[in-house]
Symmetry: C2
Subunit: 579 residues, 2 copies
């Protein structure tokens, strides 16, 4: 057994030490998670525009495959809200909801997403996910929460609806406002209110009644199950389905079927970009949860192996009647809090859900869609966080711009354009910031060997010496900036004889910046001004030594700025220099 | 007269101090540049696929307008090789060469380019040109040189040709190889050989004969005029035009006409992207030349005003029968070396060219196109510089990749895709490099208060203290990298009690990195490990103070790494720590 083989199969690591205590803990966690997942899976399938059983199927094979290939001990894989929304948005572009083509497109999306994740993992390209900055993710999640909640209003009101942007959804609701079904509204609003209360009020109540906070937490998660049971019973007992309340209806009593994703080139071309987007967003959500949980137990997550685990899970979903999945936040936290020790807990959850799919599906015939919609609305409203706007505004205008643009464009133009614009804007703003680096003119703090900004401190300077501290790596985007800056300073300073670049914060000098330095050196030489460097970092110096720049330098390289100053300056006292 | 008004009209600055000595110098320079520009203008028009007079016209109004709006004292504006190639490539996509539509498209391209440059200048967006890294420019110029030289082979061989990629051009030449005209080849090859000799051999010869090196330089530039005169005379005297030698033919005897660029939305849409590309590449070429020449005389160039100057010049070209122009390298250097002191030299050159357009055009009737092609080939081969591949390879693989990709893609897929790919690749490589920053574990150099990399130096460490120096700004692309790194180190170091991040080279912490630091802080706190910061820069600290991060920090902020070490470490000696 080679080490490489083991790396790709984390199950071989934890599986060898599996014991009775771990088994007991995993079983308990599995029971709790299974109960929570049954209504959640049905609800997210509804959100994705798929038949309810697709949600169950998407939770079975993927969990098993992740247990074999994933590195997190507590992550629970399955349908999640944001990915379900993205699926609905992508699949609606190629097929009509309710058709066979729609389900096939969802399978294809899962297959493409799985393949893409596997590729990223095998080629160790997990760092690509870093291009989604936190502000873009936060903005996207908030906007998605609003879109998802709005999309469920049609079920709570019992009217037709549609659309994938906020404006489309609201106008669809308004134009169908006449269809509102009072009984559906009663069920939907009651369920929503109940679930909000469970979320906020039950835990303190249980704690006051003597329950441990962990138990109280888990009981809170059972709220949706209670709502499902109560409203299903009500619909059955009072015959509300005949009064226009839309119910889940017939769900096949079966294990996940063997399915084939579509392979028409046209379909694949149309779904490729959404699949990449779903993969990356799903990966970012999953890895954040996995890392947070692993950190609590000093466990290690391998991001590239996680890609392989999630890739396998999505391929599993594609071939067993599911749709794109990822590691979900709430289910993973419940799994962790319930005591899951290894991925075997996930495997037991899968068995639990398989039993549910086989035996319990007739029980949800009378489950009102309004209740499922209520569970979604309450779950996703916790994703909505406008505080991020205030936080980023006070911290950095660039980050604020990224959040605001992502929220606005996701709501108005849809999820794909929203995220893509956010990513491009973040990169552009970062490049813009580094294109005008902070460059401080420094002087000697009298009585020390420290150098500080002449505009902030009382320091000693010399009109013949210009000492500039560059607070940024030098690369093509800011190379010309330095040329312009030095040129301007040289034109102003007729007495100037030496320019010293203090490079303590220069982590890289790329080839463009090297050429700019060469140009600066030549221009200064023509004017009889020396160019000197100080405090150049080891790796930067190593690289400069491979070139002729140091030979041609019309000046010297000093280890410290103080050495440079001692060698070159005939200092004035600060009062005189300020004249 | 407001200062803002003066800023937009640099002519008001130099014009007020204009005197007789400057006039004399400017007149001498103008005569020399005019003689050089006549054949060059005709040749570049040929390269752009336009009638020869377009080259003359493109040198008249643009020079005058640049003299009013530009900030360089020595820049000579007009048709240049690379921009002519880009024009040919762009215009060929919308019109057939030789048609009226072709000339109108060239005017439109100049108008769009002028408008775009003006916009960039007025909104002070000149920094956008920095996104073209030096490797991308170098690769593009080299590839363009090859493409241009190849495109002229058809004139030297006297065959038909075409295409805008290397493969297309070569296969067009091969398929027409049967048409080769021996007389044309004789003229073309002789002219090429002569011009190469002039370039390499004449200057040493003249210097040996007692001429000053500056005069010898300028005489070298007259080589093309000599070739033009000799071959024109030969064609006329021996009736070679009747033997199949293609000649320039009738050129109207006229001042630049008043022309209107096209304004069809379709045409503008098709030419918009090429116009942006031409603007930026032209601007980069022009500003480099202008800055190099200005530096020699401690003069100042305002890049944003340069955009306005070049914008006006291109608009001038669009309305007077020209095509896109920019500040050319060789003509500007000749202008400078010939003693031009102010933009008035350019104005006199324009008058000289206007006289040529009015009076001298009948003289070029028998000028063979092969001679013009020879002047182009010899001029552009000096642009081809494969040494850049070797230089960047030894300096930085990332820069090498940018050069190589730009050369390869420009040659095989055309100029637009080549440059665009180069820019995207440079940005991606930069982001990739900063996504995995250099992080050094540091220890105390015994007997000092300096800290150095534990893998490079014999330093004192403490197994309870992990001191990491981060050599990069922290932002979204590398935020997760730091999380992963610290997580890994914490899992490995069971004895660990303190993590110190030494931030002397951290020039920025964006919101994503702030959230990562918060996550790291919480995870370390859960494990009873402290997180401390040292040597945080002023602007970074100012920003952190606006957040709650410092309040929640499970550790302290130290001014220096030495303070942190003194407060936290119980040092082992290096020998023991290495165990």
């Amino acid at each position: 057994m080679t080490p490489r083989f083991v790396r790709y199969l984390p199950i071989l690591t934890w599986g060898r030490h599996y014991d009775r205590s771990a088994l007991t803990n995993d079983l308990v966690a599995a029971v709790i998670v299974t109960i929570m997942l049954i209504p959640q899976s049905l609800a997210y399938a509804l959100l994705a525009g798929l038949p309810p059983e697709a949600g169950l199927y998407a939770s079975i094979a993927p969990i098993l495959l992740y247990a074999v290939f994933g590195t997190s001990r507590a992550l629970a894989v399955g349908p999640v809200a944001v990915v379900s929304l993205l699926t609905a948005s992508a699949v609606a572009q190629v097929a009509e909801q309710g058709t066979a083509g729609y389900a096939v497109a969802a399978l294809t999306l899962a297959a493409l997403s799985g393949g893409f994740l596997l590729l990223l993992g095998v080629f160790r390209l997990g760092f690509l996910a870093n291009f989604l900055s936190h502000p873009v993710i936060a903005g996207f999640i908030t906007a998605s929460g609003i879109l998802i909640a709005t999309s469920q209003l049609k079920h709570i009101l019992g009217v037709e609806g549609g659309g994938h942007t906020l404006i489309d959804m609201v106008s669809a609701l308004v134009s169908h406002a006449g269809q509102v079904n009072p009984v559906t509204v009663l069920i939907g609003v009651t369920a929503t209110a109940f679930l909000f209360w469970v979320r906020k009020g039950v835990k303190p109540l249980l704690v006051r009644m003597g329950a441990g906070p962990r138990l109280a937490d888990i009981a809170t998660k059972a709220g949706p199950v209670a709502a499902v049971v109560a409203t299903t019973f009500a619909v059955w007992a009072f015959g509300l389905a005949e009064r226009g309340v839309s119910v889940v209806g017939e769900v096949p009593q079966a294990l996940p079927p063997l399915t084939l994703p579509g392979y028409a080139p046209d379909l694949i071309r149309q779904l490729a970009i959404p699949a990449i987007l779903i993969s990356i967003i799903g990966f970012v959500e999953s890895i954040s949860v996995a890392q947070t949980l692993a950190a609590k137990k000093r466990q290690r997550i391998d991001p590239n192996q996680e890609l392989i685990g999630l890739g396998a899970a999505n391929l599993g979903a594609a071939f067993t009647g599911g749709y794109p999945v990822t590691g979900g936040f709430s289910r993973s936290v419940v799994n962790f809090d319930a005591g899951a020790e290894t991925p075997a807990a996930g495997a037991f959850t899968a068995i639990g859900l398989a039993v549910a799919a086989l035996a319990l599906t007739p029980l949800v015939y009378y489950l009102p869609n309004a209740t499922l919609a209520a569970t979604i609305v309450v779950a996703v409203l916790s994703l909505v966080d406008f505080a991020i706007l205030k936080k980023t505004w006070s911290y950095s205008r660039a980050d604020f711009a990224a959040v605001a643009a992502t929220i606005l464009l996701t709501l108005t133009l849809g999820v794909e354009i929203g995220v893509a614009s956010g990513v491009i804007l973040s990169i552009a703003l970062h490049l813009y910031k580094t294109s005008k680096p902070h460059v401080a003119e420094v002087g000697l703090v009298p009585g020390t060997n420290h150098f500080r900004n002449i505009h902030r401190h009382d320091v000693t300077t010399d009109p013949e010496v210009l000492a500039l501290r560059v607070d940024e790596s030098l690369y093509f985007v800011n190379a010309r900036f330095l040329e312009d800056l030095i040129q301007d300073r040289v034109v102003d300073g007729a007495a100037l004889r030496h320019v010293i670049l203090m490079c303590s914060a220069v982590n890289e000098i790329d080839y463009s910046a090297l050429e700019s330095l060469e140009a600066i050196n030549l221009r200064l030489r023509d004017l009889g001004v020396g160019l000197h460097l100080s405090e150049v970092k080891g790796p930067v110096m190593d690289r400069l030594k491979t070139t002729h720049f140091l030979d041609q330098l019309n000046g010297r390289v000093f280890l410290s700025q103080y050495d440079a100053w001692t060698a070159l300056a005939k200092p004035n006292d600060p009062a005189k220099a300020a004249e």
